[in-house]
Each structure stands twice: as structure tokens, then as C-alpha cells.
Symmetry: C2
Subunit: 456 residues, 2 copies
């Protein structure tokens, strides 16, 4: 047995679990730009948003100033079933790589949804229940969010209607069964169930679907049914707020052992995990108390930070949602069908977008073959089979650990391991069979997506 | 937040993890009967077994007297990546059921193999590596053991050849990909790669395979290749020894909070989990220090305890393995193809068989529809999606908790939650679509199986 003081897995005690979420906006001098009404182009207030979202969640969405928001007891009760999540020292990986780097990862996959998404799902279901609603609608891409929301709704006995990106629905038949086990209904998107779905299908009959399109359908379904609201698993300010539990626990665990990470790495699709993980660290950075290098990792096939623009755009393909100022590839951009690794969203959290624009973090795009290679290397050492999404962060963590090996620097690397890949084995199979290609959008494809940006 | 003193999840510290396995045979007055040579019918010694098994594992297999055996450091290092596993209080389930019972479960699913099988896989791979072998062969049914062994072999860089029961190979394509991710080769059994496989296929060309048949092939493959040995994930004494870590950790966690279980419930196929979980408790019972009710739960479609006989039998279908005295349905017994829930082995650990014959435990057989019903009820409260195997134990735990509700008794129920059901979603889907049937073998089928018992 190794004699080091730092255990393999740092588990906080249940009573140490944070009692409040942290709202990084409170410490941002430049606040994220407000949502705009898609018709009037005016900033939206609570009244405008409450038709779509639960009232309490709207408050959280619009609150740029309260730094700490109490986590209700019933949400904490649920969190207790799978949190605090472990912060793991990658001893085996370090040894196999022979790197002087110290590698830590916050593992959010030890729950049936298989990812961090449950942290916000249970919060959103709770507020829907408190408001006396019958149910909620949502979209899901890879299926993690849909599964998480199904679990949360089962717990509070709420109806749960999920629009699932068609490609994922076909590639991940078992995801549907998990959601059914938790009592949810699952519809492949685009569908004939909504006006916007019918319209998109008429225009693109062979489409594989996209998150942006599934969002449009879910919003329509929420608005048209009595007692329903729409919930979203990423992008929104409220989601980053709920996900701050990841970063808060991580910080507590690090502080316990006096560990200071030199860099913090997270995958970024809509920003839910990255935003949650880095929030308290960015807070320190914003307040001038500490400095960290922060790296967002996105797929080269859907590169909103590295190839997109910082502009107002629709959050969905159907252009029914509010406009958000964010790094975007354009709401009509659809990543190549060959892209297996999740993180397929055209836009990005407006909080993270503002932080990136302000130089608080950097971004890197990686190809899908290299992320599966990193995933396999990681799995064989550390045991855990990572989700392709999470493997974006692993890839960059491995790159940085390799640099340390070359320079001899003993850097401390922290990354977010957002989830497990048990439902991604078709993609792993394609990787094993050398059937994965790396489609990087051409400049013309990027320009075509951006050409659809609204004039604001 | 609940105010009770007992947390949702009792995690031992890493340094509290047991340093020795416990060998329950040392406390048994009536020892399990020795393995017999299938040709001479004489008890087998180390020399007879070392052609098939690793030398150190043979020692453990034959050691009826040493109560505690040290866990080597490198195995403990690996255990640290996923152990100690949590002992969980089912607060939410208790509340939803409105039962006065206190329900605890030891959860072994928080690792990529998805079950307790990894505890013995890493031990067996370690001893193979220490002996300087090139690789190991094995069989797998539902795929948990094969996955576990693949992970263990990847860690020690050993070749891993898995014969997978044909039905599971077809129903669980993604299991194959996990094993490939960890570098193993996977062959559906019966196969044309072995003599015994060809013979079985000639006789039963449409067979779905069975564990007994896959064992025959794996043993043949091990014996015929230089530098290979055969390893087995259940049934053997050595496996129960390694799995005692489950029970030892459980006992430590219970003692920490002064909890005394009234009953201990585990699913039983070959006995690896049940044997591991109950070992230290049975030890106390054997030494007259404490009493517990112990319940083995098996599928009604493969009821070795409840419908089998206690007799010497082959461990495999091909009749190439040693004879073991155990509760058995006959080595040619094959559970119905419609049986989805794992635990398909015709026999039973000889340790558990002896304990059952001596009245130290009871057994119950349950149907597969009721186990999926229990699984779904459990998942919706406790979050975790259980493996069908584990759900046998859940079913009986729910029954017992329901009895407490009716009688008002505040019993403490402990059960083993051996693993997760992420690779069993085809079976869950069949359950949702009402396509699962309960095939219970007829008396004639039982008699046909038993007619093949060797005359010893």
C-alpha cells in the first residue's frame, strides 16, 4: 500500500456537503448579458419567463447579485443518496505515465444517471413540485440529462416528457429503457408531435436532429399543456448555480489536504459541468484571492468557443426561445452525424461566454478519435470507463501531464470527470473498429451557421 | 435534512479497509467436501489442480484451516480505487414503503465492472502475474465477471480470453465492447475453438449456451496453451475467500454505528456474493457469538438450493472439471432461454452448500417478473438501477420490510446489492413491454437434469 497522506479518494462527510449553492455572477464585474425577448429584442423580466420556466427558477436565472443561495432540505436529502462525490487522485495513471504531475479528478458518475446532470435535475424537479405543477418537458442529447430528470421526477412523482435527439435515440436504445424505468415518456426529435417538429421535418426530412431542435419542441410542449413547464440541463444561469455544488465540494476537499491546483480542466458543451466545477475557483480569481489556469475543452466538430462568435443568438433551432449573448456557431449549425462524443450544442452558457471574453479562461478543441484513445488509456489505469464527453477533459489532462513529464514540472492538474460511458459503447465499438472519423467543420460551414445569427 | 445519526452512506476510511480476507472454512466444524478427480474419484491435492489453476490460488482453495489470509499490497492498491464500498441506509425506500423496518444494503456496483466480481478478479490476476503467466482464460454469463477480469488483466498487463455464454453475447453486445476496451478477447460459447465446444454444438446445434458449457471451453483453452491458467468468478472456495472483503467491510461499518442486522439477504447463483457477504456473520454464528437469519435468494428458473440435491457433480457441462459436492440441478441442466436475470449456474459453492445442509441458512426462489418489479420500485426511490441478479435480494428485502409494516416490527434488514443493471436494459425493456415470462422447470425437467449426476 502506498504511504502517501492523500487518499485515493477524498470523500467529504455528508454533513460537510455545502448547504448553499454559489452564484459566480455575484462576483463578476461584467455581468452576463440579459436574455432578450425574441420578438421585441428587449431584456426579459420575471413575468416574461414564467410562462416557460418555474417561478423560483426564474428568480435564480435573473439574480446576478446574491452570492449564496440556500439548498432546500429536500434537495439535500436527495443529494445525500449520491453526494458528496469523490475527488480522486489518479495515482495509477501518474505511475503508468511516469509523470511528476499530480492529477486529481472530481468524479460525478457514481449515480444511475451516470453524470453530474442529476445535481440540477433534482433542483428543477423540486421547484416544479413546490409550484404544484403536473410535470415538466425537456430535451436530451446523449441522454444523460433525460435520465437525470427522469430519476428526479420519479422521486417527486412528477410527469416527465423527454424529447431526445433522433441520432442518440437510435444509437442509444437502452437510454430509453432507463428513462422508462423511471417512468418518463421519450420521443425522438424532431417529431410529428409539435408544430416546430413538423416544420423542421418538412424542411429537413433526413435530419438526425440536434439539441437546438429538441429544445424547440420541448418548449412548445410545455407552453401548450396546462401545469407544465420547460426545464433545461445546461446553458442557463440557474443550471450553473446548481452545478456549483461540484466546485464547492472540490474546493473543500482540496483545502482539507492543502492542495492548490495549477490548472482546472473541464469539457464544455453548454457549460453545465465546466461552469459548476470552476465557479468557486473563478470567484477567487475574480476577487483577486488566487489564480488558476482554466481550460475549457470542446469537440473540434462543434467548436463554439474556438470557432464561434460572441453574439446574441437563439438557444434553439426553431427560434422560439429567448436570445442569449454567448459564443455560438449559429442556432442552425448541426455537428456532423459522425460525431459520437456528445457536446453537440451550438451555443454556450452566457456566464462562461462572458468569462471567456474577459480572458478568465482559455479553450481548446480536440478530435473524437483522440478523445476515445485518451478514454481507453484512462480506463485501463483508473478502472472507470469515462463518457466521451468527459474524455475531452481527460485528453487535455493527459496532454498536460505529458508536458510535465517532458519538463519535469510537478504541476497539480484538476479535471472534471463528469460521467461514465456505459451507454456509449456503440461509439467505443466504432472506435475499436476504426470507424470513427474526425469531421471538423469547414470555414464555409462555420460561415453558413453564423449567417443565420439574428440582427441585434 | 434528516437528523438521524446514521448517515445515508457509511464509508469506511481507506486505512480501515480490511488487510486480511476471512476464510469461513476455518470456523466450520463440518468442512466442505473435497474436490474429486473426475477420472479416479479420489480427492484432489495441490499437484492435481496446479495444471488448471495458479499455484497460490490452489493453496487458498485447499486451505480449510487458516482463518485470515493477508491481502497483498498490490491488490489493496487496486481495491483503493473503488473500495471501501458504501453501506447505504435505504431511508427513501423506508419512507415510501412506510415500514418500520430499517433497511441497509452493501453496494458493490460503484466500479466499471458494475459488480462485486472485481474483488476476486484482481486477486486472481495478481497471482497469475506473480506466477509469471502470460494470461488467463475464463467464462462469463451475464458478463460481469468477464468485465471484471478484463479490467484486472489490463491493470497487470495479462492476456485475457473470455468465453461468453452465447445468449448473453447476443443480448449484451455492449458488454463485449467494455471487455475490448480493456483489451480482452471475447468468444461466444459454445464455439468451434475448442473440442468440447464442437462436441456440444454437434449435439445441440441451437443451444443458447450455459455457464457450465463455457467453463468446459475455458478450462480446455487454459490447459492447451503454454503459460495460461483458468480462473473462475464464483463457486470456488478461493472466490468466497476474496469476496469476504464485502462482509468484513459491512461488519466494520455496522459495528461503527452499533447496528445488529436481524437478517442478511443475498442473491445466489454460484455463491460468490452471498458467500462473501455472509462469511464474517456466519463465522460469528458458527462460533456461537451471535445469531442472524440468513436468506439465499435464487431464481425460480434455476433453483439449485430449493429444488436441487446435495451431491457430487461436475462443475461444467463438458464433464472435464473436478467433481464438487454441492446443491446441484445436474451439470446438464440449462435454465430456460427466457430467463433474463442471471444466476444461471446449475450448482452452488460447496461452502454454502455445506452451510445450507447444516441449517445455517435458508433459501427462497423468486420469479423474474417479480424481481424486475422490485428492481423498478427500488430504482425509483433509491436512484440506483440494480442488476437483475441483485434484484433477487431486493425482492426478498421488500417482502420482509412489508411484513414489518404489517406486524409493526422494527427489524433491521441487510442485503447485498451486488451490482448495477446498465447492461441489462434489454431485459428491463422486455419487462416494460410485458414480454418476460416465468418459466419454472417442471419436475420432469428437474429429474432429467439430476439423472445425469455421476455415481459417486
Amino acid at each position: 500500500m502506498k504511504q502517501q497522506e492523500i487518499p485515493y479518494k477524498i470523500y467529504l462527510e455528508e454533513q460537510e456537503m455545502p448547504k448553499e449553492w454559489y452564484n459566480v455572477r455575484a462576483d463578476m464585474q461584467k455581468k452576463p448579458a440579459p436574455l432578450l425577448n425574441p420578438e421585441t429584442l428587449q431584456p426579459m423580466g420575471a413575468k416574461d419567463l414564467e410562462g416557460v420556466f418555474c417561478a423560483e427558477l426564474v428568480k435564480q436565472e435573473l439574480d446576478d447579485n446574491t452570492a449564496f443561495i440556500q439548498i432546500p432540505d429536500r434537495i439535500r436529502d436527495f443529494y445525500m443518496m449520491y453526494r458528496p462525490s469523490p475527488l480522486i487522485r489518479a495515482y495509477c495513471l501518474e505511475e503508468k505515465m511516469q509523470t511528476p504531475a499530480k492529477i486529481y479528478y472530481k468524479f460525478e458518475g457514481n449515480n444511475t444517471s451516470g453524470s453530474h446532470k442529476l445535481n440540477s435535475a433534482i433542483a428543477q424537479a423540486y421547484y416544479a413540485k413546490e409550484q404544484g405543477l403536473k410535470g415538466v418537458t425537456t430535451e436530451t442529447g446523449a441522454g444523460q440529462w433525460g435520465t437525470a430528470l427522469s430519476m428526479a421526477c420519479a422521486y417527486f412523482e412528477l410527469d416527465c416528457q423527454v424529447f431526445m435527439v433522433k441520432l442518440s435515440h437510435e444509437q442509444k436504445p437502452f437510454r430509453r429503457e432507463v428513462m422508462r424505468t423511471y417512468g418518463a415518456s421519450v420521443t425522438p426529435s424532431p417529431s410529428l408531435d409539435t408544430e416546430i417538429g413538423r416544420k423542421i421535418l418538412a424542411e429537413y426530412p433526413d435530419t438526425n436532429g440536434s439539441l437546438g431542435c429538441a429544445i424547440s419542441e420541448a418548449v412548445e410542449a410545455a407552453v401548450k399543456q396546462d401545469g407544465y413547464r420547460y426545464v433545461l440541463g445546461s446553458v442557463l444561469n440557474q443550471v450553473l448555480l446548481h452545478q456549483s455544488i461540484i466546485g464547492l465540494e472540490t474546493k473543500l476537499a482540496l483545502d482539507k489536504y492543502d492542495i492548490h491546483p495549477d490548472m482546472i480542466i473541464g469539457c464544455s458543451g453548454g457549460g453545465s459541468n465546466l461552469g459548476g466545477l470552476i465557479s468557486p475557483f473563478v470567484g477567487e480569481k475574480l476577487r483577486g484571492e488566487a489564480d488558476y489556469r482554466i481550460i475549457a475543452v470542446e469537440p473540434a466538430s462543434c467548436p463554439s468557443f474556438t470557432k464561434g462568435v460572441f453574439a446574441y443568438d437563439y438557444c434553439d433551432t426553431g427560434m422560439v426561445t429567448p436570445l442569449s449573448k454567448m459564443y455560438t456557431l449559429g442556432s442552425r449549425f448541426m455537428p456532423a452525424a459522425s460525431h459520437a462524443g456528445g457536446l453537440r450544442y451550438h451555443g454556450m452558457s452566457s456566464i462562461l461566454s462572458q468569462l471567456y471574453a474577459d480572458g478568465m479562461m482559455e479553450a481548446r478543441a480536440v478530435g473524437q478519435r483522440e478523445i476515445f484513445e485518451a478514454a481507453e488509456q484512462f480506463a485501463r489505469c483508473e478502472g472507470i470507463l469515462p463518457a466521451p464527453e468527459s474524455s475531452h477533459a481527460i485528453k487535455v489532462a493527459l496532454d498536460e501531464a505529458q508536458k510535465c513529464k517532458e519538463t519535469g514540472e510537478e504541476k497539480t492538474i484538476l479535471f472534471g470527470l463528469t460521467g461514465t460511458g456505459y451507454f456509449d459503447l456503440m461509439a467505443y465499438g466504432k472506435y475499436h473498429d476504426h470507424q470513427l472519423s474526425d469531421h471538423v467543420p469547414t470555414d464555409a460551414e462555420i460561415q453558413a451557421g453564423l449567417a443565420g445569427l439574428p440582427k441585434v
